[in-house]
């Protein structure tokens, strides 16, 4: 009886420790999010969102930075979505189980593990210098696209694979070709998963600073970019600049910028979660 009681005590202590660890892990993040929203929302006015910065970034708004991040991520999506989705379809549906396919998987895994600043270096050497794009939206967006590619490929593959095999079998037995069953059956059924992957990729790209540091970002520009070959301001880089590079920066500008970035990221996360859970609820298989 005594041993049993001790066992129960151990279990209670163990579960207590695990609960404590979870609280230590999550609570600081929750507090951070609330703190940024609380201090940042006070600073967010229509002017802050829609005006140019003034007084050496210490006053005015952050419109060019917001627009820059939107342009960068939008251009990036145009590149990474088709390429990543095609590669995901290949791995899920076409790829034979051979050495080439295994090499592709290993390459994707390694691409995912490369530090973001190394992508920045590559973007500088490849897009900015070798392809003479200069420091530009295009060079930054392409760099971000390569960095995001693994996420889009793997989520697409996952989504297409999760469609039951019988769907494909039925399609083929009715005389459908490979491509017909991919286009009419597998892609529509896997669409929510694919969309979720693309959105998570965009979320990650929107928050990254290191890859655009030497490929696209400018501290301050008096005009909005007019072509994909112009440099641009960007939200995460702007947050870096206002929190480290300029003395006498009002906290309102810093927290306001952080809050806008946070809201952008949270919004994409919520959209992805909603798409996923709605698809799961509607699913008939």
């Amino acid at each position: 009886m005594n041993a049993r009681r001790q066992r129960q005590w151990t279990q209670r202590a163990g579960f207590g420790l695990l609960t404590l660890a979870t609280i230590v892990t999550t609570l600081p993040i929750l507090l951070i999010v609330l703190l940024i929203l609380q201090r940042g929302l006070a600073a967010i006015t229509p002017e802050f969102l829609l005006a140019f910065p003034s007084d050496g970034l210490r006053a005015g708004g952050i419109f060019p930075a917001i627009l820059g991040t939107v342009l960068l991520t939008f251009t990036m999506t145009l590149v990474v979505a088709p390429l990543g989705i095609a590669a995901g379809i290949y791995l899920a549906h076409y790829a034979p189980d051979n050495r080439l396919t295994r090499s592709i998987r290993i390459a994707i895994l390694n691409l995912a593990g490369i530090p973001s600043v190394v992508y920045g270096l590559f973007g500088l050497a490849f897009f900015v210098i070798f392809f003479r794009m200069g420091t530009s939206i295009l060079a930054g967006a392409l760099t971000l696209a390569i960095m995001t590619l693994p996420v889009v490929i793997t989520t697409t593959e996952e989504a297409v694979r999760s469609v039951p095999n019988s769907f494909h079998v039925v399609s083929v037995s009715l005389g459908g070709t490979d491509w017909q069953s991919v286009r009419r059956i597998l892609l529509p059924q896997g669409l929510p998963g694919i969309l979720t992957g693309v959105i998570l990729g965009v979320e990650r790209a929107a928050g990254e600073t290191a890859p655009i540091l030497f490929t696209a970002a400018a501290v301050y520009l008096p005009h909005l970019p007019t072509s994909p070959l112009d440099p641009t301001m960007a939200l995460p880089y702007h947050l870096y600049v206002v929190s480290t590079q300029i003395p006498g920066m009002p906290a309102g500008v810093q927290y306001g910028t952080a809050a806008v970035l946070l809201i952008l990221v949270l919004l994409m996360n919520i959209i992805a979660t909603v798409i996923r859970s709605r698809a799961r609820a509607r699913r008939r298989w």
Binding site: Q11, F15, T25, Y240
Partner: protein
Amino acid sequence: MTSALRERLVAVAVRVAGISAIALLLVIFFFLIQQGLPALAEVPLPDLIGSRWYPIEGTFGLVPLVLGSLLVTLAATLIAVPLGVATAVFIAEVAPRSVREVLKPFIEVMAGLPSVMLGFLGIAILAPELYHRLRLTTGLTAFTGALLLGWIAIPTIVSVAEDALDAVPRGYRDGALALGANRWQTIWRVTLPAARGGVLTAVMLGIGRAFGETMAVMMVTGNAAVIPRGWGALFQPVRTMTATIAAEMGEVAGGSTHYHVLFLIGILLFLISLAVNLVGASVVFRARTRAERILS
């Protein structure tokens, strides 16, 4: 266009897209080599493994940077691994369903927080707090960086480890419970050991995440390129490899020795992350769903 031709074209197109992943990895490596290798010719090897990083004088000793990265990563790992694995076990094995449904998306949000934002909070709140509480000479230290990095690595560890625990067949747990083990014994002696491969992968990926992190580390570690000596160094400024590239690349002339050396550091980062990843992936870890978590 005939249907057969279209079939062939599509098959080729998606195949090319798949192979592009390999091509990109090779192109990245090639361009890093092309820009970084000249450094080996321009700077004598004894200088590169020297202990002084002082680019203005043309002294490019990489040792302080490498040790700075190792110190911060090691400290972050010591924080993140126990917390991350414990949280994963809590979510997968202990938490009631309702709590689980809240925690899982929360961890995902955590993983998506921009590191520059955490860096900003590090400067604005964490560093002053540590400075006052621990009576340091500055709040911008390796320890401050390790704390931030720990929390940046935790979501990676939690989601991969949790998937590994989920993949342990139900029957293992049922068997242990039927033999009279309680839930704690089942977790400790059956589920965790059965998932150890996946948990190890989680740890490796977490280490890789911490090692490659740039902005947050650059903002809070003080960026002094000195060789850390002993555990006391944890509470002094250091400078990591990633931060050095990010901080200095904007100011160097293209094609200069300094520029080539920064690319050489990039090659080192590339190779180390490659090694960490391959070790992580080679651990027995079969079920396919994991790939998604690993990469997102």
